[in-house]
């Protein structure tokens, strides 16, 4: 290797730090500059994204102000835009998905981290990773052709007859709607909860478990009362991560939620979500304020996921550092 560059440093012994000119001649400074430009590009793109969303939504921000979030008239013809039904739909579907996904995901993560032998755990985790790689439009197709008919024929009628006294489970069973979207979202976010929670649980020090067992705790008591509380913040992190995914998820929700802007106590009612309305109306949006209202919805989604992802990362890093002193999450 040295032979190829002999012309450059043939003279004199190697000295600790090379001069700037020498680093320049050897290409170090050039490589440094080029790679820096690409790294800076990443920051620039991110800033530009925020800037464009902000500037792109100037009109509705000025015209409607805070009313944009609390009114529910969405009328492109008279240029009145209120996003409440979309926000409602997003929040409701994301909540349903978490209620279903969190217990299942954490249960599976406990199994993978605490019970399963390493080989089995790795194989199962491999399948979970593949599950996370399934594109959302595929979940949408299965939602349309499998989940919706199942919901309409079996699940929703069953829920109505057993829990129908609650307003949540009343109303006609269309198949499409908040509940179906929530279920499909739950299936989509479970892999994220499992992967991150498993990682966090695995970083809990061994002596915590041994101490609990030595005091006479059963295997479950040591897991539930010692290991899980130790990893609590990290598990919360995984939930926030899943929530951020669920809020921003577009295709699968658009395909099963029914795309009707309604606010209804019934979970069986068709609804709409922020991401779905952007997906459906963006190309048809005529008129500046219509398009900009949709961009403002994009800005809202961006801010929500930004906050949730930030919190998630903070919590996950905090737990892993407490666990084993390594900062990677």
């Amino acid at each position: 290797m040295a032979t190829t560059t002999t012309t450059v440093h043939g003279a004199g012994p190697f000295v600790g730090s090379r001069s700037f000119m020498r680093r320049l001649r050897e290409g170090d400074e050039i490589v440094r500059l080029i790679t820096f430009l690409f790294a800076a590009f990443v920051v620039l793109v991110t800033l530009l994204l925020v800037f464009e969303l902000w500037v792109g939504s100037t009109l509705p921000r000025h015209k409607f102000g805070f009313h944009f979030f609390v009114t529910s008239v969405w009328d492109p013809i008279s240029d009145q835009f209120g996003a409440l039904p979309f926000i409602y739909g997003t929040v409701v579907t994301a909540s349903i998905s978490l209620i279903l996904a969190v217990p299942l995901g954490i249960g599976a993560a406990i199994f993978l981290a605490e019970l399963a032998p390493a080989r089995v755990s790795d194989v199962l985790q491999f399948f979970i990773d593949l599950l996370a790689a399934v594109p959302s439009v595929i979940y949408g197709v299965l939602g349309v052709f499998i989940v919706i008919p199942l919901m309409r024929e079996y699940i929703q009628p069953a829920l109505k007859s057993s829990l129908g006294f609650l307003p949540l489970f009343q109303g006609p069973a269309y198949g499409v709607g908040f509940f179906t979207a929530g279920v499909v979202l739950a299936i989509m976010v479970i892999p994220y909860i499992i992967s991150v929670s498993r990682e966090v649980l695995l970083s809990v020090p061994r002596d915590q478990r041994e101490a609990a067992l030595a005091l006479g705790a059963t295997r479950w008591e040591s897991t539930w009362k010692v290991v899980v509380p130790f990893a609590r913040t990290g598990i919360m992190g995984s939930i926030f991560l899943a929530l951020a995914r669920a809020l921003g998820e577009t295709m699968a929700v658009t395909m099963v939620i029914g795309n009707t802007p309604t606010i209804s106590a019934s979970l069986f009612s068709p609804g709409y979500s922020i991401a779905a309305v952007i997906a459906n109306e963006f190309t048809e949006a005529t008129g500046d304020i219509y398009l900009q209202s949709l961009i403002e919805l994009g800005l809202v989604l961006f801010l929500l996921t930004f906050i949730l992802n930030g919190l998630a990362r903070l919590l996950i890093v905090a737990t892993s550092q407490r666990g084993s002193g390594m900062g990677q999450a």
Partner: protein, 283 residues
């Protein structure tokens, strides 16, 4: 054994079994998805699917040749945007930068990674559709490329950092410049990891639909060049699945099977590359 202890042991056994059930349920979902796609898709896949254009409305038959080529073009553009930026940016982070700059870049990358794909679509629309007043392959490729950047960057950086210090020191001790060390020692030592990172980023964007809806749009014919709207597999699946035609539903299943097959193969390949003869201990 007292009643209380028996109860505690029962609870322990019961709850631990339930966690196992949870894990099995989660994994079974994958096989359900695969099973349904293979079941419905395989009967609809034919030679025509890969070679014919979509049939005119109302006629049955036809294929998705234009969508397959369209997806290929979009992914090529995405790789041209995402891989150089991610790879070279990661080299800067791992080899040159101080901790403050590295923190800012990583933070920006994580932020970008968390942005919902539909919002990336809006961004690409503002950058590459609005100024030219038409939808195009380029705009779609840009949207996918932007999504590839953070995934490639973060994992490439990790693999570069995992290269043992003594390899660097060895090269430096032989008198190699830093640029030379990176090109001939560090990157070759980490290449399996980097390849895995790129493949996984590629698989991730291959199935993305939302960012293409209003950038590449769609097209029922071939899309010559790079400046016209183009069809793509994910968008075709979306449109066909929601259409009222039985024949289109069949083709949506077939396209879904092809797309998921491609993505799973890339995923498995990427993990196999990493697992077999790991050149660097995994971090």
């Amino acid at each position: 054994m007292t009643a209380r202890l028996r109860w505690r042991k029962f609870v322990s056994g019961f709850m631990l079994t339930m966690t196992g059930v949870c894990a099995v349920v989660a994994v079974v979902v994958l096989f359900f998805i695969l099973g349904y796609l293979v079941y419905h898709g395989s009967t609809s896949i034919s030679w025509n699917f890969f070679t014919k254009l979509p049939a005119p409305l109302g006629e049955t038959g036809g294929g998705m040749a234009n969508a397959i080529v369209g997806s290929g073009k979009l992914l090529l553009l995405a790789a041209l945007v995402g891989v150089p930026v991610g790879f070279l940016g990661a080299i800067y982070l791992a080899e040159f930068s101080g901790s403050t700059v590295a923190f800012i870049v990583r933070y920006a990358a994580d932020l970008l990674n968390g942005v919902p794909s539909i919002v990336i679509g809006i961004f690409a629309y503002i950058l590459a559709v609005l100024p030219f007043k038409h939808f195009s392959t380029t705009a779609g490729g840009l949207a996918l490329g932007l999504m590839m950047i953070p995934i490639t960057l973060r994992s490439t950086e990790e693999f570069l950092r995992a290269v043992p210090r003594n390899l660097r020191e060895g090269a430096m001790a032989l008198g190699a410049s830093k640029a030379k060390t990176i090109a001939t020692v560090i990157v070759p030592a980490a290449y399996r990891g980097i390849l895995t990172a790129v493949l996984l980023a590629f698989a991730r964007v291959a199935g993305e639909t939302a960012p293409l809806l209003f950038t590449a749009l769609g097209n029922r014919y071939w899309s010559p060049g790079w400046n016209q709207p183009t069809s793509s597999l994910p968008v075709m699946i979306y449109n066909y699945a929601l259409s009222p035609y039985e024949d289109w539903h069949r083709q949506a299943w077939a396209a879904g099977l092809v797309l998921l097959g491609l993505i799973l193969v890339i995923n498995i390949l990427a993990r196999a590359i990493l697992a077999r003869g790991v050149s660097v201990p995994r971090s």
